[in-house]
């Protein structure tokens, strides 16, 4: 028992270093966690946050340094050791089992069993899963298949799983990235409750909102080193940004005013059975049209229908006044429509390929004569975009999996730009992207609009929507509920339209 060591930290990491071939992922990082505190861990992508977490959970082992658990030295040789010591983690991309039920996802690894025969007790587990989900305010059926759930719902299950472990240390890696504001509020509430019960929480986020709402202390990592730890009440947003990026970023949302030009895209009564219905809007040159609404309200589905990924079964699409039937992405791109997908790793990039291969992927036929590749032409274009977008990599021949999230996103944007497409649909363009890259992407979008491009931006982040859009469409359950101009929109109005209170 640790009765004598009352003042020690629950968890203390000292001088942790971790090397990967050729890279120092962490260098003499120190980190500590008090009982019953919410400790935010921030830093740009690639700063080493994920590595640090993997070390705490035992997925990775440090090359140097020591870990103290309740004041005693401990070695987390594999994930089970951490689990036994009641350390649980909720990862950035929900690490779920898509083919299995919610109950199984919650209890995999620590099932409720009949003590003597070790038979799984399904009824007990289902009941417990139901109870846990209820405490989270979710009415998910524990028998549902995980793969059928939305990302936000999966996140809920992940949290329920952490609760079921009754963890003393809970690590949340960007838990709010996929959540809507209302869900985020719920998550804050749950986190505070946990704190009250004495659980220590490590909270990773890119959103300053999260940090200032719930965190007690904040540790900043930069380039694998810890910059420092502060009480949240003692550090301003500006100072925090400065600590993270090592420089000051003046403005996050630089959408410049440009004259709105001709109509380039008009959608009339678009519908797809089971997903959305009666969608109508129009888009003009130089305009950024924001699409707001809860996750699952059908925003992405509309975008993908316009891009030809999934067919629509009713309505019309007009490009520059001419009706065009769009049945494939190929056709959409022929019409000058481009789509930046929400999930850049799954939908946007072919990770094992190089930057140039990815940038030229959708326009391959242009760098070829009668099918034979002329690589030079492609390289030239890539090189140009590489410099233009300020992608951080040694060359255009780097593999995209080795890039940070923000730079990966820039490559996807580059692919879009290479296509010389004039109508761009961007689905969550800054999701999971660090502050620096986020501002860069916003700058690019603004420049594009200034050059007469027409943009649709789907985003779950209110400040982003409000800051960037010329006009805003709000969707709820597959239908457009309201359309706002830039001037009349505010956070409250958007939210009201998204949830439509009093339906």
């Amino acid at each position: 028992m640790n009765g004598l060591k009352m003042d020690t930290y629950v968890l203390e990491l000292k001088n942790i270093s971790k090397y990967f071939p050729g890279v120092k992922a962490l260098e003499e990082v120190g980190f500590n966690l008090k009982k019953g505190e919410i400790h935010a861990l921030v830093g740009e992508n690639g700063a080493g946050k994920s590595t640090l977490i993997k070390i705490i959970t035992g997925v990775l082992q440090p090359d140097e340094g020591e870990i103290f658990f309740h004041g005693e030295k401990i070695v987390f040789s594999d994930p089970t050791v951490a689990q036994k010591n009641l350390i649980a983690a909720i990862y950035q991309n929900p690490t779920c089992f898509p083919h299995l039920s919610v109950t199984e996802n919650i209890f995999m690894g620590h099932p409720i069993v009949e003590p003597r025969t070790r038979r799984l007790l399904w009824n007990e587990m289902n009941a417990e899963a139901m109870r846990l989900l209820k405490t989270l305010g979710s009415e998910l059926n524990p028998g549902s298949k995980m793969g059928d759930l939305s990302v936000a719902q999966q996140q809920m299950v992940e949290i329920a799983k952490a609760l079921s472990l009754d963890a003393r240390i809970l690590i949340m890696d960007e838990p709010t990235a996929a959540l809507t504001s209302r869900e985020t509020e719920e998550l804050y509430e749950i986190t505070r409750t946990l704190r009250k019960k004495g659980t220590s929480v490590v909270f990773i986020s890119h959103r300053f909102e999260d940090i200032y709402q719930i965190a007690d202390r904040v540790t900043v990592l930069r380039d694998g080193k810890s910059v420092g730890t502060w009480n949240v009440s003692e550090i301003s947003e500006g100072e925090l940004i400065k600590a993270m990026v090592g420089r000051e970023i003046s403005q996050l949302f630089p959408k410049s005013e440009v004259p709105i030009g001709d109509e380039v895209l008009r959608v009339e009564g678009l519908s797809r059975v089971g997903y959305f219905a009666d969608i109508s809007f129009s888009l003009h040159e130089g305009e950024i049209l924001g699409f707001s609404g809860l996750v699952g309200s059908g925003r992405s589905e509309v975008a993908q229908a316009i891009f030809g990924i999934h067919p629509y079964d009713g309505g019309k699409i007009f490009v520059r006044g001419k009706e065009v039937p769009i049945d494939s992405p190929w056709k959409a791109m022929e019409m000058g429509i481009g789509y930046l997908p929400e999930d850049r790793q799954l939908q946007g990039l072919v990770l094992p390929l190089t930057i140039t291969d990815n940038i030229t992927l959708s326009t391959l036929d242009r760098y070829a004569r009668k099918g034979w590749l002329k690589s030079r032409a492609g390289h030239d274009i890539s090189q140009k975009l590489f410099s233009l977008l300020k992608i951080k990599a040694s060359s255009i021949f780097d593999k995209t999996y080795s890039l940070s999230g923000g730079n990966q996103q820039k490559v996807v944007v580059g692919k879009l730009l290479a296509g010389e497409l004039r109508i761009l649909i961007m689905d969550e363009p800054t999701k999971g992207v660090d502050v620096g890259a986020k501002s860069a992407i916003h700058k690019i979008m603004s420049d594009l609009a200034a050059n007469g491009f027409a943009l649709i931006m789907i985003s779950s982040e209110m400040p982003e929507i409000l800051g960037m859009s010329d006009s805003i469409v709000v969707m709820r359950e597959g239908r457009i509920t309201r359309t706002f101009s830039r001037e009349e929109a505010n956070q409250e109005k958007l939210l009201t339209a998204a949830v439509e209170v009093g339906r």
């Binding site: 090359d63 939908q347 390929l353 999996y401």
Partner: protein, 334 residues
């Protein structure tokens, strides 16, 4: 994403370099096997014999090429052997019915094309139908049709020149004609896969089909072409195989489907898609052939040969993993 940041490889080996490494391994093995063979049997270094040995069942090689491409695109085709049988049988029948041999050969290729297109059509048009299931069933279906049309008969009596395809030599040299034919086709496939936009798209699909689709690549159409291509080449293989056998029966080319996949994978093609290339597949074909030839020359019984080939297949594929893990652990602790 941050976690992938951790996997930066120093000096970033490009895919091409990795290919090269694998191919060098195969070249090394080929040299090794040749040396051992040469020591074991005095007949091994007989140039003409070696050429003839390379030509034995080279028609399998014709199928390896498109199958490698299908594997690279992340799909699989286990119906090729049956397509060979059906093409062969229908070619023989149409010849027997009075068609000139040249047209009968066209029939074989046409039948192969149709079978391949049938596979491709089902796989691309019915979402949820995987290539494993389709080609597994088509494997029975095509061979079954061959049995239906030919029953227990064999058809032969082809014109004399037709046997030249598999048995003839180039002029007075000792290079079999089929080696030249295969060489031409192999170069063509190598160029298509490695030097054209089509090939680039195949790799993109194999590495990430969703992203390929989101990038405007017509995934279905390319897969349809790939399966049709496998059919075309199976038809062509049927032409050469029938020439070799001098007659056709519904039970020719039994068991080719797995051998062909084994050779492609030995050549560095990953059944998971996105990896490998034509040069590797060709080297693997040569390696496999030399191995069987060498073992045959010293009269290793067929059953022992099975064991040896099985072990070598596993060992060769395991080798890079073992070397890799040794290197990593040395780096970590050394």
């Amino acid at each position: 994403m941050e976690s992938t940041k951790t996997s930066i490889i120093p000096g970033g080996l490009s895919l091409r370099e990795v290919f090269l490494r694998w191919e060098w391994l195969l070249v090394g093995l080929i040299v090794g096997v040749s040396i051992v063979n040469g020591r074991l049997s005095p007949h091994f270094w007989d140039y003409a014999g070696l050429m003839d040995a390379m030509a034995v069942f080279l028609e399998k090689g014709f199928i390896v090429l498109p199958v490698a491409m299908i594997l690279i695109s992340g799909e699989i085709d286990i119906s090729v052997s049956s397509i060979v049988a059906l093409s062969s049988v229908l070619m023989a029948l149409s010849f027997q019915a009075g068609l000139p041999m040249v047209l009968a050969i066209c029939v074989a290729v046409a039948v192969g094309t149709a079978c391949g297109a049938f596979n491709g059509f089902l796989i691309t048009r019915i979402p949820g139908l995987s290539s494993v299931i389709v080609t597994l069933a088509a494997n029975s279906l095509f061979r079954g049709i061959a049995y239906i049309v030919l029953g227990d008969r064999a058809v032969g009596g082809f014109p004399r020149w037709y046997s030249y395809l598999s048995w003839g030599y180039l002029g007075s040299s000792s290079i079999p004609f089929i080696i030249l034919a295969f060489g031409i086709v192999a170069v063509f496939f190598g160029l298509v896969l490695h030097k054209t936009t089509f090939g680039r798209k195949v790799y993109a699909i194999g590495n990430n089909q969703v992203a390929a689709r989101f990038s405007g690549i017509p995934v279905s159409r390319i897969k349809l072409i790939l399966f049709t291509l496998a059919g075309v080449m199976s038809g062509l293989a049927a032409v050469f195989l029938t020439s070799k056998l001098g007659s056709s029966r519904p039970n020719v080319a039994l068991g080719y489907e797995l051998e062909v996949i084994a050779i492609a994978v030995l050549g560095g093609v990953s059944p998971a898609g996105g990896k490998g290339g034509i040069p590797g597949a060709i080297l693997a074909l040569i390696l496999m052939r030399l191995l069987r030839y060498g073992l045959g020359l010293i009269n290793v019984p067929g059953q022992v040969m099975l064991v040896v080939i099985g072990i070598i297949l596993v060992l060769v594929v395991m080798l890079p993993n073992l070397i890799g893990s040794v290197r990593i652990s040395r780096k970590r602790f050394g």
